[in-house]
């Protein structure tokens, strides 16, 4: 079989961070070739390159044996490559038929609208997928899984032979997943090639013919799915050098500072979360993207409302509705997206560092400029922020130093509880080590630290205990000695070998059915 799509030695870096380092990947007609990897392994970057959304720094792409010099989204479309993203990208105020027609039609703005044709085509395509969605319905009235199906219908309508699916089941429930996988099997039986990305390993085993594992921007293995087992796959995903130097820390944990009991929220998808953090302790919060870690942090900090459960601080139950109330209880929160939430980019370093503690430098509302300078200078000194001056806008600093400013803001309120959400994301190695040291120092001074991180080595090295979240609840808590990469991943993915076996059997059944139907 010839390669439908071939990517050879692709490299890509963003602002100095190497996202892909010589990744090769090939897709044959009539196969599902899954891509798996930890958060940040480079999956999304690879997809963006395969779909033409980004161009690689080096390496080459070929579609059906013909080299493609510069792939753009429009060219990808013309070459029969369709990408289905995690979040459907449909026009909510247009009908299903119109959405499908827009994907398919190219040409003059003034051509006549063939309403009857649109509707017929949409119905045909949806029928091929074996779903009953009225083509006249507005997309905004569809459920998430229905929208996902319309995305796939768009791909079918364009006669795409290469279908890229990026976490298509992330927002689907069990039964809907089954239906989607049946559609995937049918596409494959029709001879399409499918690039399938998913965090759910049972699903990957259930649908893939081959699996490529990405780790740290490299393709570490491409294997036939049948030749791999779960344990081996997980080992390939996380098996990196854990010898990276992490500072060690001594000191015993004190009393319970933060005690979360059976916290639930329908809107945020949290279910019965119970977790405690002691004074002087670092508790790592691991889990896949979307497992509810950030939602938990935001609920504790008063940004989201909880339906049930309680939060105790130093043994006293508190009700927190707003960030300033959380701060009054001594809670600090360094949010995940520093550019969006962590710092105010056009503001000076000193102003950013004092923004959460303005009551200290501005008693009675008037800012004491000297006190502000002192605090800004102290932050720069203590955290080793590399900045031309404390008056420089934060946007002029590197990512790592911006993050240190975001940290400085919270250290200034001398929090007794500090929640860090991905504190080293997109931060260079040097600054990362410095941030780790700061976190350790903070815990040594008696703060209770809740550390959310998708980077397993970081969580394992810094945490006294690791709590693993899965689907909005705590899947398990591992003490330092027991917390290994494999155990954490096992809990985060939490499928047993038995479930994997069941998934494989279901796959065989689906394939047989799809083969029968296309015959």
């Amino acid at each position: 079989m010839s390669a439908l799509l071939l990517a050879d030695s692709i490299t890509k870096s963003f602002a100095g961070a190497q996202a892909l380092r010589g990744v090769s990947y090939d897709l044959r007609a009539g196969e599902v070739h899954a891509i798996v990897g930890e958060n940040g392994a480079g999956k999304s970057t690879l997809i963006r390159i395969l779909s033409g959304a980004e161009s690689p720094d080096s390496g080459s792409l070929a579609v059906r044996g013909a080299p493609v010099a510069a792939l753009t989204p429009a060219l990808a479309h013309a070459l029969g490559i369709a990408t289905i993203y995690q979040q459907p990208s449909l026009f909510p105020d247009l009908s299903v038929a119109e959405n499908i027609a827009l994907a398919r039609e190219r040409g003059g703005l003034w051509r006549r609208v063939q309403w009857a044709g649109w509707r017929r085509d949409a119905r045909d395509v949806l029928a091929r997928l074996g779903v009953a969605i009225d083509p006249d319905r507005l997309v905004s009235t569809l459920t998430m899984p229905e929208q996902q199906v319309v995305e796939i219908a768009k791909a079918l309508a364009t006669d795409a032979r290469i279908v890229i699916m990026d976490e298509p089941t992330a927002s689907l429930s069990g039964q809907e997943v089954e239906r989607l996988l049946a559609i995937v099997a049918r596409l494959r039986a029709e001879g399409a090639g499918i690039v399938y990305i998913s965090h759910r390993l049972d699903e990957v085993f259930g649908v893939a013919d081959r699996i490529t594992v990405l780790r740290d921007g490299r393709a570490v293995a491409t294997r036939a799915a049948a030749s791999l087992d779960r344990a081996e796959l997980i080992r390939l995903m996380v098996g990196r050098d854990l010898a990276a130097v992490f500072p060690t820390r001594s000191g015993a944990a004190g009393g319970v500072a933060l005690d979360v009991r059976r916290l639930s929220s329908r809107a945020s998808g949290l279910r019965d979360v119970s977790l405690d953090v002691r004074r002087g302790e670092i508790v790592g919060l691991a889990g896949l993207v979307g497992s509810g870690r950030t939602e938990l942090a935001e609920t504790i900090f008063g940004l989201r409302a909880a339906d049930a459960g309680s939060v105790r601080i130093d043994g006293v139950e508190v009700r927190i509705h707003r960030p300033d109330e959380a701060m009054a209880h001594g809670i600090g929160y360094v949010p995940e997206d520093r550019r969006q939430h962590g710092v105010v980019l056009p503001m000076a370093v000193a102003a950013n560092a004092t923004l959460a503690s303005l009551d200290r430098v501005a008693p009675r509302g008037v800012i004491d400029a000297a006190a502000e300078r002192r605090q800004g200078e102290r932050a720069v000194r203590d955290l080793g922020i590399r900045t031309p001056s404390i008056d420089a806008p934060v946007e002029a600093l590197s990512g790592g130093n911006q993050q240190k400013v975001a940290l400085a803001r919270w250290l200034a309120i001398e929090p007794s509880i500090l929640i860090l959400d991905e504190p080293t994301q997109g931060v260079d190695v040097g600054a990362k080590g410095e941030i780790h040291a700061i976190v350790n120092r903070l815990a040594d001074r008696g703060a209770a630290v809740l550390l959310i991180s998708s980077e397993l080595p970081e969580v394992l090295a810094l945490s006294d205990r690791v709590a693993v979240m899965r689907q909005g609840t705590i899947a398990g808590v591992l003490p330092r000695g027991d917390a290994t990469a494999d155990r954490v991943m096992e809990l985060a993915l939490a499928e047993t070998a038995k479930e994997a076996k069941a998934a494989r059997e279901a796959k065989a059944a689906r394939e047989a059915k799809a083969a029968r139907e296309t015959r």
């Binding site: 963003f14 602002a15 961070a17 996202a19 999304s44 970057t45 963006r48 980004e54 900090f301 940004l303 707003r322 960030p323 300033d324 959380a326 701060m327 929160y333 949010p335 550019r339 969006q340 939430h341 962590g342 710092v343 105010v344 980019l345 056009p346 503001m347 000076a348 102003a351 923004l355 959460a356 303005l358 009551d359 501005a362 509302g365 008037v366 800012i367 400029a369 008056d391 806008p393 946007e395 990512g399 803001r409 994301q425 997109g426």
Partner: protein, 321 residues
Amino acid sequence: MSALHRRERSVALAIAALAALLAVVRPSYFSPENLVDLLLSNLGVMTTAIGTTLVILAGEIDISVGSVFAICSVAAGAAAVRGAPLPAVALVACASGAALGLLSGVLVAAAGIPSIVVTLAAMIALRDGLRWATQGEWISGLPDRFQWLGLTQRTYPAAATIGVALIACAAAWMLRGTFAGRAIYAVGSNADAARLAGIRTRRVTCGVFVAGGLLTGVGALLNAVRFHQIPSNGGIGLEMKVVAAVVVGGAAVTGGRGTIAGTALGVVLLGAIGPALTFMGVSAYWERALQGAIILAAVAGDAIGARHAAGRPARAAAARV
């Protein structure tokens, strides 16, 4: 901050260039009568523009200032006609403005309606409401002590100018030196980040509308005392003048960036250019076109600057995925 100072410098340079040109071509432009006239007709604009600067810095917009201005003028006049003492008249003007600002502020901050919609509705409803209430009649028979705020025609310009300058200084100081000012900039540049830093963002949003309304009331009062009658349709087009001055002065319409000094220079430039054209014998029709060109030039400068800066965050965001 350096970009801001650049803008203020270029507006100041434009004013200087205009002044130099006029000094050569039409020295009569600098006659005391003309300057005082120019000053008096722009004091109200300046005061209102200071308020609008606060609103725009917080990332909002208030296009109802013209209608609020009219209401405050009429309210002050009505109080004066009924024999209220001058401080009470002033209070009525300010309180009417603040109350209308509070109304818009609550609708924006608490109900979450976009400020452009709220203030557009306010602009129309208040204007028509006032027309209905006054039946289009002007307020006349104003007591003498209302004229020139109880001062004389000679002393009033200086006193009012000093007053407006004090207001400008107070606003500038508030923005630079107080918690409230810091919060306005923070909310305007990144409301999410400000909220996460414990700032009560809704209060800030509401607050700038109240301040904006209050200052519009002050502007209306300063304007009303110049005349013997108070029109029931004052302040038409004021919102455009004011927003134009703020934008020319370097404030970002998206919030978080701008200064009172920039706004003041913007008011001076846009206020001076119209009469200058008249003095030079250019048709009045060109006045608006030229003002539009100035705004466009200022904003185009912004857009080009922003395009340069935008490359970085976009790429950094992509690197995270």
